[in-house]
Amino acid sequence: MDRFVWTSGLLEINETLVIQQRGVRIYDGEEKIKFDAGTLLLSTHRLIWRDQKNHECCMAIPLAQIVFIEEQAAGIGKSAKIVVHLHPAPPNKEPGPFQNSKNSYIKLSFKEHGQIEFYRRLSEEMTQRRWENIPVSQSLQTNRGSQPGRVRAVGIVGIERKLEEKRKETDKNISEAFEDLSKLMIKAKEMVELSKSIANKIKEKQGDITEDEERGGIMSLTEVYCLVNRARGMELLSPEDLVNACKMLEVLKLPLRLRVFDSGVMVIELQSHKEEEMVASALETVSEKGSLTSEEFAKLVGMSVLLAKERLLLAEKMGHLCRDDSVEGLRFYPNLFMTQS
């Protein structure tokens, strides 16, 4: 039913009426619709249906849209019908009674008879295809392809057509905008999925780890990157993707979070992990040994040097440690400046 186009019902120049029949009802596929009593007209170019009660309700299908036709004989309580199978509506089709239809055929029910003759005439037109040889106004031509149609302005109908063109154009822009939005949403959804999958992988890895490899609830982002990509095997994550996904961890209320230290080093830590508390124990360790470098501390505690350094730097930032920077290297001491008078 979405192939029909509103029309004035007036024949174009060079379009000839072939036959007409009153009392015709239209079905959308097998469904009864409101167009139950009209006059069906066959021209050299179109099939036109006009509502008997409301002559302004008038629509047409170009004959070129018809694939083939079938007859359906009358039965008890059922009128004879013609089944008209149709090509899909062209993209630049003029407006009609239906925007969409799931059916690619209609049925014409002849309640006041006349089906046999009509069918004969219609078959003849389908065979002769006179519309191909007799040009009429452009809007009646076969427009199955996307033709850039110049809209001919002819009176009110012309104005209506122009308005319709404008409406379609606006629709197109809105659809494009929505397409972009939906692409964005798909990307966001991908990120969310990625975050969850990363969180899972880390959790799995945590489960696998033996006591020797205790991570202590914190991992550098480079460690996470290797972990995740090793597991993926194919379609590796880019570092940028990983960072973006990790930024969503806290928002998604997953038990992990991304943390960026002053130095720029990024880690993933358990929500339950309290780095500030680890600092207190770091201070104890340093005090016991008098002073420690990052490497010495890392070895003692069983951490990566990168994370060990970050912990010592955090302790310094919090005022618990101070530094000795010389040719011998960088050492951390308990902050006696604060504790001793």
Binding site: S291, D324, Y333, L336, F337, M338
Partner: protein, 176 residues
């Protein structure tokens, strides 16, 4: 004469010779340095110094510990002292400085107190008399270097308690 200068505990603490990045820690560190510089200069009766001297002096160079305060950090310490009123640059290049373990205003106060105590207001003194005269033996400002003395008297002059005058070849001061 053996200088039995007692170094503070910080002098044996390696981090003392690294400028601390933590602001609060640095504040304590610099205060300790200022204190050390003033007591060192006081004991060694050093009223002026060049930056080059300072770098190699045991003050900023602890040979035993194998740590030296880098020159940029020395500059920061000296700037702190200047802000506090204990240091004055003697040249535009900031290569040598006057170091006053007591600020000129403090010296001025001590000198004026002595003058008032001994009932010598309205008297005139030569600079020499003040720092090296018999009458001032036992006073803290006895033996004070001329540069610092002059600044002390200038401070008093600002308060209208004294006036620096020319006496013969040199200078003197009248107290009010």
């Amino acid at each position: 004469m053996a200088m039995s200068f007692e170094w503070p505990w910080q002098y044996r603490f390696p981090p003392f010779f690294t400028l601390q990045p933590n602001v609060d820690t640095r504040q304590k560190q610099l205060a300790a340095w200022c204190s050390l510089v003033l007591s060192f200069c006081r004991l060694h009766k050093q009223s002026s110094m060049t930056v080059m001297e300072a770098q190699e002096s045991p003050l900023f160079n602890n040979v035993k510990l194998q740590r030296k305060l880098p020159v940029e950090s020395i500059q920061i310490v000296l700037e702190e002292l200047r802000k506090k009123g204990n240091l004055e640059w003697l040249d535009k290049n900031k290569s040598s400085f006057l170091i006053m373990w007591r600020r000129p205003e403090e010296w001025g106060k001590l000198i004026y107190q002595w003058v008032s105590r001994s009932g010598q207001n309205n008297s005139v003194f030569t600079l020499y008399e003040l720092t090296s005269g018999e009458d001032t033996e036992g006073e803290e400002f006895h033996g004070l270097d001329e540069a610092t003395l002059l600044r002390a008297l200038q401070a008093l002059q600002q308060e209208h308690k004294a006036e620096i005058i020319t006496l013969g070849d040199g200078r003197g001061v009248k107290f009010f």
